[in-house]
């Protein structure tokens, strides 16, 4: 399916949850150094559960739509469930075929999520290669 399917462009033009949270438990920025795309993810946790999500960012339609779609999906998820999200899950949410060229764009959101959760648990961040084994 076309990379620029209507749902991707919809999320790009009208991103969901793209706003800073006034109260959040953790905030984390990740960048794609090869293109400069950036995402700042904010999570509000209630005990072990993601209660609210907000984000800010700049970048291509793929990276921004991916964050927008993932932000919706995170609400109500436990830390464990969010941590278990795989690159395959993110690509399935996007619903389009992402080639190797744009894989990093599509997975910047997951990279930010994983490191936000780690930061929340006082763990050191993981590098890109954890998200993208062949990057």
């Amino acid at each position: 399916m076309d990379l620029y399917a209507e749902n991707i462009l919809d999320h790009f033009r009208h991103p969901h949850r793209k706003a800073a949270l006034t109260r959040h438990s953790v905030e984390l920025q990740e960048k794609n150094p090869s293109c400069g795309d950036s995402l700042t993810l904010m999570l509000r946790m209630k005990k072990n559960t993601i209660e609210d999500v907000g984000w800010e960012g700049e970048g291509c339609a793929i990276s921004q739509a991916s964050m927008s779609i993932l932000a919706d999906a995170l609400i109500g998820k436990t830390i464990e469930a969010a941590q278990a999200l795989s690159p395959k899950d993110i690509l399935a949410m996007l619903g389009v075929e992402v080639g190797p060229r744009r894989l990093k764009c599509a997975l910047l959101s997951l990279h930010a999520l994983r490191n936000a959760l780690r930061k929340f648990q006082n763990l050191p961040p993981t590098p890109w290669r954890e998200v993208l084994p062949n990057a």
Partner: protein, 416 residues
């Protein structure tokens, strides 16, 4: 600026030039290949590919080592290439030409070998136009030796602020100014000759990063009065894997080697070595001989055309590009429109990120570059996180520029 040559006007036969590039005849799906990413790397004419194959088929051996006729041929081919590069940039002697693997390596040799004499507080001057390969080696020296870096800023058109330069040169003892001879983003060139004269009055050496300039304008290192110059073969219609460092003989001669190994030594015993003369001193390891042969062929190929014709053709392509792109709503050219532009032109477009634009152009067979083009400080200067760049070569046509502009118009609507 660059040396301008005068020739009687003789229009270039672009269709015939294109036929000499095997890669250009392919299609990407239903679309003809439109290659407008020449600042990243140029395509290679058949004569370059043939010269390299011929070398491997007839003359391959390790140069400067074997004692048999084949090794002589390899040595001859390698040293002929060195002499050809020397005449191409008007170096005084072939020994001033060091073969490296890239512009990046050439600049690194200066930073790491010439830079070994620098001490904390010494100053290197750079401009905001620079490519990362002319920034990072100096930042490494800053970390390692505590040198300072002085930055020359630019105005909204990308013109360097000469007052800043004057001030830097006047107030500090700047040891070296390392400067792009042609911006890989804006396609504009600083007034090189004036700047070099200013630097020399302040006893400051000048290194020119000619990676972009070399395919678009004649370069005469003696007329420019530069001290060091770096460029790559692959942006000059030659193969990847080989670059050039030119330096004044007395400066190169005073520098220690960077890589230790074969070829770069004079004598080695168990606890001591002395290094070879220039240029071998900087060429440790078996050199890229076939690539040198390819570079030689590329220079021969390019210089069969009068520089004035090359400059006119490429300028007219960029003028057409500026005219066509300016018709697109929400498009801004970094640095604004300019008649002085050569090589590259970069722009931003409201509503669509450069990566998406480049992806969708790519699907239509059109190759452009998207991102920061290894020039983050310059993009910060223009407050643009990324841009889309088109860059031209001798084989590009007006039709390709029209195809680019039409494709952008087609791609845009769903993003707005």
């Amino acid at each position: 600026m660059f040396q301008m040559l005068c020739y009687s006007p003789l229009a270039l036969d672009i269709p015939s030039i294109r036929r000499q590039f095997p890669i250009l005849s392919q299609r990407i799906g239903a679309y003809p290949l439109v290659y407008l990413d020449n600042a990243a790397t140029t395509q290679k004419p058949k004569t370059v590919l043939d010269a390299m194959t011929h070398f491997y088929e007839t003359s391959n051996a390790n140069p400067h080592r074997g004692l048999y006729p084949l090794a002589d041929r390899a040595t001859q081919a390698y040293e002929d290439a060195r002499s050809r590069v020397a005449t191409f940039i008007h170096a005084t002697r072939p020994e001033e030409i060091v073969f490296t693997k890239s512009t990046t390596e050439s600049i690194n040799i200066i930073a790491k070998c010439w830079g070994r004499t620098l001490r904390a507080g010494d100053v290197i001057a750079l401009s905001v136009l620079e490519h990362h390969s002319n920034i990072v080696p100096w930042l490494q020296l800053k970390e390692e030796r505590g040198i300072d870096i002085a930055w020359i800023d630019a105005d909204g058109t990308g013109r360097l602020n000469m007052e800043t330069l004057e001030k830097i040169l006047g107030e500090k003892h700047v040891k070296l100014l390392s400067l792009s001879a042609l911006s890989n983003v804006l396609g504009t060139a600083p007034p090189l000759q004036d700047i070099i004269a200013m630097a020399h009055r302040a006893q400051c050496l000048v290194l020119l990063d000619a990676a972009q300039a070399v395919a678009h304008h004649p370069i005469d290192v003696r007329e420019l009065d530069a001290d060091f110059l770096a460029f790559s073969s692959h942006k000059l219609y030659g193969p990847t894997g080989i670059g050039v460092l030119w330096g004044r003989e007395r400066l190169l001669d005073a520098m220690p080697p960077m890589l230790g190994g074969g070829m770069m030594i004079d004598e080695v015993d168990c606890d001591h070595f002395t290094f070879a003369e220039i240029p071998q001193r900087f060429e440790g390891g078996t050199p890229p001989v076939a690539d040198a042969v390819g570079l030689h062929a590329a220079i021969d190929w390019l210089t069969q055309f009068p520089w004035q014709e090359i400059e006119m053709h490429e300028r007219s392509l960029l003028t057409t590009a500026q005219n066509e792109l300016s018709k697109i709503e929400g498009l801004s050219i970094l640095g604004g429109t300019s008649q002085e532009r050569s090589g590259s032109l970069s722009f931003t477009l409201d509503g669509i990120h450069p990566h998406d634009l480049a992806e969708l152009l790519g699907q239509r067979g059109i190759c452009v570059r998207a991102g920061h083009h290894c020039a983050q400080p310059l993009h910060r200067h223009f407050a643009a996180p990324a841009s889309t760049r088109l860059s031209v070569a001798l084989y590009n046509t007006e039709e390709e520029i029209f195809a680019l502009a039409a494709a952008i118009q087609e791609i845009l609507p769903p993003f707005r």
